[in-house]
Amino acid sequence: MPSPFLTPGSHSSLDQLALLHLRRDHAIPTVLRLHDDEDAGYKEGKVETTRFGSFPHTTLTGQLWGSQIGASKVDTGSRRGRGPQKKNQKLKRKVDEIDSATPGESPKAAVAASSGFLHLVYPTPELWTTSLPHRTQVVYTPDYSYILHRLRVRPGCTVIEAGAGSGSFTHAAVRAAFNGYPTDDAPTTKKRRLGKVCSFEYHEQRAGKVRQEIHEHGLDGLVEVTHRDVYKDGFLLKDPKTGTSPKANAIFLDLPAPWLALKHLVRHPSDGGESPLDPTSPVYLCTFSPCLEQVQRTISTLRQLSWLSISMVEVNHHRIEVKREKTGLEYERVRGAVVFPKDVDEAVAKMRHVEEHSRKYREMMHQLDDEESTPMPASTKPEPEKEEVPETDASTPQTSNIPPYKQGRLVHRSEQDLKTHTSYLVFAVLPRDWTEEDEQRCREKWPPHQVDLTQPEKPKGRKQLKRERKERLEEEQKKQQQEDQQPQQQEEPTPAQEQANAAEQA
C-alpha cells in the first residue's frame, strides 16, 4: 500500500491517512474508514465532527485531493453506541428496537448541510508536524528543513534518528531519503540502495506509538522503529550486540546527552563490534540541544572522536503577517481601521473645519446673546448634523470607488507568537576511513607526479563532434565520388578537410 505522504495519487482512498484542513495550522488527521472502529454509532458510519460541521467519511473518500467538502447533516444527538447523555437513554433503546442495523451494513448516505466546509488534503510532513499528537517537544519545519539539507539526506540515504519523539522529524526524513518502496519479490540490486530511516526511542510507549503511526501511514519498511537505550546499547538493528549495521549516511540525535551516544558512532567500535556507519561514504551528524552546556560537551566529544567540519548554528524563523492598514478619517465605522488623520493636509482640513464650526457657533451665541438673554435649546442641535454632512461628502467618492479589500496601505510584520529559540544545531562530518593500503592502491592507479604539460583544450560539444564527423564523412564521399569520376586527377585537400584533420590531431 503506497503511503499518502510519498505517493498520494490523485484521489483519497479508504484506510489512508487524510488531513481535514479547517484553517491554517489546524488540520485533523484521520484514517478514512467507512465503519467506525470505536462504534460511535453514527448512521453515516465513521463521522468526523468539527467546529465547522460534521463530515461522514463516505463524503471524504474517493474525492480528488484538495477538494472543498461541504458538511453533512449528521444527527449527533440520537446516536447509538456510547450515548453519553442520559436523556438519550430512552431514545437509544427505542432506536435499538427500531433499527437493528448490523455493523456490516453499508452506511447511510449523507445529507448535505446548509453551511460549513473543509478542505481535504493529503498529508505532508509539514502539515503532519502541525497536526500530530504531541508526545515530546516537536522539531518544527524551519529546523528540520535545514537539518536535512545540511545532513545531505537524499534519495537512497539511510538516516539514523535517535529520540523519535513525536515523529515529525521521522516523517520529514523518510520523505527526503525515499526513492522507492521495498518490494519482496525484487531483491534490491547491488547498484540501487533504497533509502530508509532507522528510528530509535528509549520510551517504550512512545516507540510503540511511532510504530503504529508508521504502519497507519503506509511507511512500513521505510522506517524501522527500535525501542532502545542508545547510550548503552548503540545503534545496530535488531540485537544490540550481534545485529546488522544500518550503514547510516546521516545521523540526527535529539537526545538530552548526545555525547553519551557518540561512542557508538565510530568507524571501529572499541568493543570490536560492527560500526553502524556506512563504510563507503562520509557520515553527517547533527545534534539538537537547547542548552549551550550540552553543545559544549557534545563538541568536545566530537573533537576527541575525530569528527571534522564541526559547526554550530541556531535557526531564527518567523512568519510574517500581511495586512492592509487603514488610517484615515474616512474609515469611520470600518472594523480594524484607525480613525486618525492620514496626513497633515487631512489633519489641517479637519482642524480648519472644527475651527470654522466653533467660530460659527460662537457667532451664533453672540447673536443670541445680543438678541436675547435666553438661548434656545434647539439651536445647539443642528451642530452634529452640519459637521457630518460635509465630511461624508468629502470621503464617499474616495472610498466607494475602491473595494474594501484594496483600501489602506499594505504592511507586514512578524506574527505575534515568535519562537526566539528552539535549539542549537551542531553539525559535523566523519570522513571515510582511509588507510595506508588504500592510499597505495590509489597511487598506483593515479601516478602522483604525472602532469601533462599540454593542457587539453576545452572538450568539444556533442554537436560540434557530430558536425565534424559529418563533414569528414561528406568529404570522404565527395572525394570518393571524384576519384571514381576522375581517377587520374589528384584532389587538393579542401579547407574543411584540413580543419577536420586538425581537429583529429587535437
Binding site: D99, T124, S145, T280, N316, K460
Partner: protein, 573 residues
Amino acid sequence: MHSYVRPNQFVAFRLPSEATRIQKVVPNTSISLGKYGTFPANQIIGRPFYLTFEIHETPGEADSTYLRIVSAAELHAESLITEGEGDGDDVELNEDGTPVRSNRETIDDRSTQKLTLEEILALKKESTGAGKDIIAKLLESHQALDQKTAFSLAKYKLRKEKKYMKRFTVIPLDVSLLANYMLEDKDAARTMELRDELIGLIGCWGNVHHGGSTSFDETVTERPNGRYLVVDDTGGLVIAALAERMGILYPHDGDYDEEQQDAIERPAVAEGDEAEKPQDGEGQSSDTPRRPRRPHMSASGNTITLLHANKQPNLSLLKYFGYDQDSPSESHPLYTNLKTVSFMQLLDPNADNIYAEEPPVVPEEELATYKPSKRSSYHRKRGRWMRVRKVVDDARSGGFDGLVIASLMNPSSIMKHAVPLVAGSGPVVIYSPTVEPLTEVMDLYSTARKNAYIARKRELQERKEQQPEDQNEEGAKTYPELEEEFTLDPTMLLAPTLQTSRVRAWQVLPGRTHPLMSGRGGAEGYIFHGIRVLPTQEIIEAAGNPGRKRRKIAKPTETETPTASGIDIEMTS
C-alpha cells in the same frame, strides 16, 4: 553519494582563509590554489572527501610535491590541549583577583614584530613544512608575545595560520556548498541571493521528493508521481536544489551500494569513458550504449518542468554537476528528467515555430533513398518536433505535484497561469529576496479579497442563470468581469503563509563560545507558501464558530427534532 573524488568532477577546496575555490579535477593536470600552492590532481583523485591535505615540497626539486593527510587530532590539537588542561573556561588570575594578563599593556603597532617583510618573504621561499615553520618563526620573533592574553594569542596564531599554512580541504560540490559559494565568494545577485536555509525551506514546503521507483508506479497509480513545475531565474540553483532532493542531480545518482574495492576500481572505468569521448567522436554512436537510448526530456515521473521567459533557459550553474546545458550528456539523469517550456509555448503554443510546424512525414521507401545526412536531419527535426509537442502538451495539461517559483518577474503574473496547473493539494512556493513582491501576493489571497470574490462570483452566477440560456454553452464557468476585477482566483490557494528564516552561526571553542561577530547582510529572503485546492462549484456558506448565544437559540428547535430523526430511522431501516 559522494564517497570519493571522481576524475573530471568539480570539487570545492576550502582554503585556510575560509575562502572556497571550485575547480574541476582533471587527471594528469596540476591544480593551483594561488598562494596556497600547486599540486598534481592525481594526488587527490580517488581519495575520500573532507580530508585536509598539506602541500609539502622541497624547493628547487621537481616532482617533489606530495600531499600529507592532516589527521583530525592534528586539526583539533589546539582545542584538545586547552580542554585537556582544563583552563579553557577560566581566566588565569593573580592573587588579588585581577587577570594575570590583560590587554592593558598591549602595544598596537607593528614594531613588536621583529621580522621584516623581506625576511618573511625569504622564509616563504625556502619554507618546506607547509608554512608551519614560518608561523613558528613569526611567533618566536614577536616581542610582546608573552604579554598577549590566551585569547589574543589564539587569535594571532589563527591569523598567521590563515596567511601562511599550505593546507586545503577537499569538499564535495553540492547544492548547499554552491549556494554558500555563490553568496560569499561570487556574485550573489546571480542566484537572487538565495541562502542555504531557504533552499531547505523551499524543498520542504514544496514537498519536493523522489517520486518512487517506476516499476511500482505502473502497478499502483495511473498518473506519474513527482512532477514539479518550476520557474527559476537563479541560473539553475533552484533546479539543482530540487533535482538533488529528487535524486536526479548527480551523474552518478543511482549508483549507490559501492564496495570499497569497487570505489578504487571505478576511476579507471570512469576515466576511460571520459577520455574516449573527446578523442574519437565517431565511436559514440557505433558503440553499443550500456542502457537503451533514452530520448531527451522523455521521463514521465520524477521530473522537473522548467518554465522560462526567454528562448533558452539559463541553467549555467548546472555545469558544476556535470550537466552542460548546450550539449547535455545523455547519461546524466537530468537529460531525461528536466523538461523546459517557455512561457510563450505554455500560453500560446502555436506561436512557437517548432511546435506549430510539423515536419512532413516522409514514407519509409522515400526515406531509404535519402542521403544519410539528410535522413538523420529528417529524424532530428521529427524528433525535436515530437519532443516539443509532448513536453508542451504535458505541461499544458497540468496536474503537477508542486509549483516552485524563484523569478525576477512579477509573481502574480506567473501564478495566474501556473497555479491552475497544480493538482489539488499540491503546494505552491515562491521565493523572493525582498518581502514586497510577496506581501502583494499575500494580499491577493487575503480573506477580504476571497470573500469579495466569492460574493461577486455568486452575483454573476445568479445573473447568468436569470439570463436566457443562449450562449451558456461556451461561457458556462468563465466570467470575464470577474477576471477583470480579480487578476487571479483567490479561492485556489489555501492557507497562504509568508515566512523567513535565518541561521546564526556560533563559534564554539573551549572557553570562547559566542555567536560570530560578523555575517553577510543583503537580502533577507522570503518564502510564500500555499496549498492548491479545488473550490466546489456549489455555494457553501462558511460555518463560523457558532457562538454560545446562537447555540442557545438553536436549542428549542433541536428539542423538537427527535420525532423528525425518528422518521429518518424508519426510512432507512
